[in-house]
Homo-oligomer: 460 residues x 2
């Protein structure tokens, strides 16, 4: 640790030689104006309201296309220099109208449990799957279950570890059940998989999300998530009656890939138009709730960055680009296509910033780049701190900008993580769950970093 | 800045000489256990629920005494080494049953507006005060109003500046209207003062809080706060009809001082029992809502620090003391009495930590102490970071521990500030507004700092 401190300090002193106090004060003044614009007028928050009112934006859905058109119009209306729809084919999974899990034996026969089908799941036949249930706590347990899961519904009752401080780490561990439950159930000869919703909130709202694609050689079985309260109910009910039967009906299915688009807008740089600073979110969402935190908010924070430049009449020295990536949730096809075109055209991204961890109060920026690049950002910390950013450090960036391997730096906006998984992938994720000040503080933090990057660039 | 960095680095290196890597790792392990205890079991959050269910705890109220008895019992029940009620006389202001503001002229005659009397306000005569209204934006404007406020209700329609990042700074500026409005109105010959509620949330729930004591030579006039929506309504209504009349009825009054108590519990130190590390909150609240964030949460976080020591079987080397201060909201009599007794008895507090900024995600600790003292805490940062603490720096501490001038260090726990004034002093401040994880993360941060202080002490 101490050695590292010395190196960082040395790099910091070095950087300070090329970055004068005068410039620093001028940038601080601009940062102040950016904060005033964001927090004072809440324009982005109002635009977020318009978007959320349109409902969810699952890849391939009519509503996602409607929202893409709205975004294109909005970018034109805001007067950005260039607006482009970048075509991309995306997976087209649909939930369909039928989704139910019913107790079908014993005293509580007929009781409905709260579920949501998992993305990529196959449906059931029309009369559903009626079977006994076996509960396991871990994938390990399921892998070693022998023949006990044969013909059964497997209930993967894993917990989101509440003791992990950063909920994204807790999520990373818990989500393997959602990702792999159906595959492992298929291997074990089960007929369907149910998981406890992967969430930090105790209520009965089920949380959806992707399963990993079915493996070719393994029997495909459907997968769904239970609300936490009903997961507890089911666990107790099986203990009382080990022969309990459930009936699962799902009408979800995967249609042929659909035409979709990344949405791109630019403010063209006045001095180095071929150096790009990208701000982004992903525009698709799950089909429950409005995908407000995940990730309408990230998109509109990126949009507001450009809008604030316009509002304050700041002409960026380098090109400031806003991208709404399509299909982050179940395919990443938008980001992959954007990366492909980037490489084909040799577009030079000096930084690609993504906001996809909810619109909570800013904490830091996590930068995937060489340490010498990250050291160049440290002198900006007193400015970023004005927008509640306490650190800029090496780490992962985001699912979409992470595909941009040619970028000089990939940067994840890191807000506070405690509430995100209360809402994530569920009907709880609506406009009202986004706090106006926290949203705008995030927009300001991203705008200030984008401003510093377009002004100062990076030595690479 | 650079010079300061060098000094801080030097102090940091110096401190590291007396603080071995081995100890550091052992402390990290204990911190991990503290986090597991807090976040895994949520025991403090459940105790907070018990307290909030009892309702608000305004100084001098029967309910505050009931809650004090509950706290005393709870501390005994948890098996702390010493439990003490420290007597203190406190102001006894009561709201009484009548509180209304009614439009009493024009087309909307009879319309009720949402208000709450301000602490220390006198009441009106039974038939109320009926008068015209004059709106001002600032105290400055009111001070220069000449004779225009004579016989009028003065409506101080000031804004909580939304562009200030730290809401406590925004509050500090806006709250002068609440503190001084009635006094300045009295000076100007007005008959009552109405302020726009001092809050970051746009709804119609009015926010109470203290006025400064009336000045002897100036006419006493009552003061109340309007909900934000009705403040907007009133402003428009006056513009439409400058002769609009309102009727204000308040039954609030100040009774003779009442007997109350600070509640104190100790875990006695095994090596240096005469060195105290104090953790605290204030136990009184306003009489609307449950005072959940302000400051039941701070008290129970302090209580949980001792409880976690007990649960994990950690015997502190120095005495760990929990104090629930009484009467922070309208007199600070509890803290003043505690400080008086401290000086009288020569009690040596090496640190006095206060949590009174809401139970949101931890950001830092603000330390009121000599820089050499604060430098000794810097090597602990990697440990504190486990509980979401990004910094320990020089700054103000808290209203109560701020009275302890003889303490080696006074420390304010600083959680994220964005939501606090949404709830503060209003009916919004209830148990449900406290997020379980954020509350427990704060409890863990305070417990870890208290642990490090009791283990390592401070060189002073």
């Amino acid at each position: 640790m101490q050695k590292l401190s010395v190196v960082v300090t040395a790099l910091l002193l070095l950087s300070s030689l090329v970055y004068s106090q005068e410039k620093h004060e001028a940038h601080k003044e601009t940062a102040r104006q950016i904060l005033d614009a964001a927090l004072g007028e809440m324009k982005g928050y109002k635009i977020l309201g318009e978007l959320c009112e349109m409902g969810p934006r699952l890849s391939g859905s009519d509503n996602s296309i409607k929202a893409i058109r709205w975004a294109e119009n909005k970018m034109h209306e805001l007067g950005f220099d260039r607006v482009e729809l970048q075509p991309v084919m995306v997976p087209h999974w649909v939930r369909g109208p039928v989704e139910s899990l019913t107790v079908s034996s014993g005293a509580e026969k007929g009781r409905k449990l709260a579920i949501t089908a998992l993305g990529r799941s196959i449906g059931t036949k029309e009369e559903g799957i009626t079977a006994g249930v076996i509960e396991v706590k871990t994938l390990e347990e399921l892998r070693n279950i022998g023949d006990k899961a044969l013909g059964k519904i497997v209930f993967l009752n894993g917990q989101f570890d509440p003791t992990v401080t950063n909920t994204f780490s807790g999520y990373g561990r818990a989500v393997t059940h959602r990702a792999l439950g159906a595959i492992e159930t298929g291997k074990a000869g089960g007929v369907a998989t149910l998981i406890r919703s992967v969430t930090t909130r105790y209520d009965n709202v089920p949380h959806t999300g992707s399963m990993r694609p079915y493996a070719a050689a393994i029997k495909k079985v459907p997968g769904a998530a239970l609300g936490q309260i009903d997961a507890d109910y089911l666990s107790k009910a099986i203990k009382k009656d080990p022969n309990l039967k459930l009936t699962l009906k799902l009408s979800c299915k995967t249609l042929p890939d659909a035409q979709s688009y990344n949405v791109i807008a630019d403010l063209i740089g006045t001095e180095k138009p071929d150096e790009y600073v990208l701000v982004s979110g992903h525009f698709d969402s799950w089909d429950v709730g409005d995908g407000a935190h995940d990730d309408a908010a990230g998109c509109i924070q990126a949009l507001e960055a450009l809008e604030i430049f316009k509002r304050l009449n700041i002409r960026p020295k380098r090109t400031l680009r806003c991208v709404f990536f399509m299909n982050e949730e179940n395919g990443i096809k938008g980001a992959l296509e954007y990366a492909r075109v980037t490489e084909e055209k040799g577009i030079n991204h000096i930084a690609a910033i993504e906001s996809d961890r909810g619109a909570f109060t800013p904490r830091g920026f996590s930068v995937d780049a060489d340490s010498a690049i990250i050291a160049q950002m440290q002198p900006w910390l007193p400015i970023l701190r004005m927008a509640s950013i306490d650190w800029v450090r090496k780490g992962g960036s985001g699912v979409d900008v992470g595909q941009l391997r040619t970028a000089v730096s990939r940067i994840g906006f890191v807000p506070d993580s405690q509430r995100y998984f209360d809402y994530h992938h569920s009907a709880n994720d609506v406009y009202e769950a986004v706090h106006p000040r926290e949203f705008e503080m995030g927009a300001a933090a991203i705008t200030i970093l984008a401003y510093l990057l377009t002004e100062e660039g990076l030595q690479y």
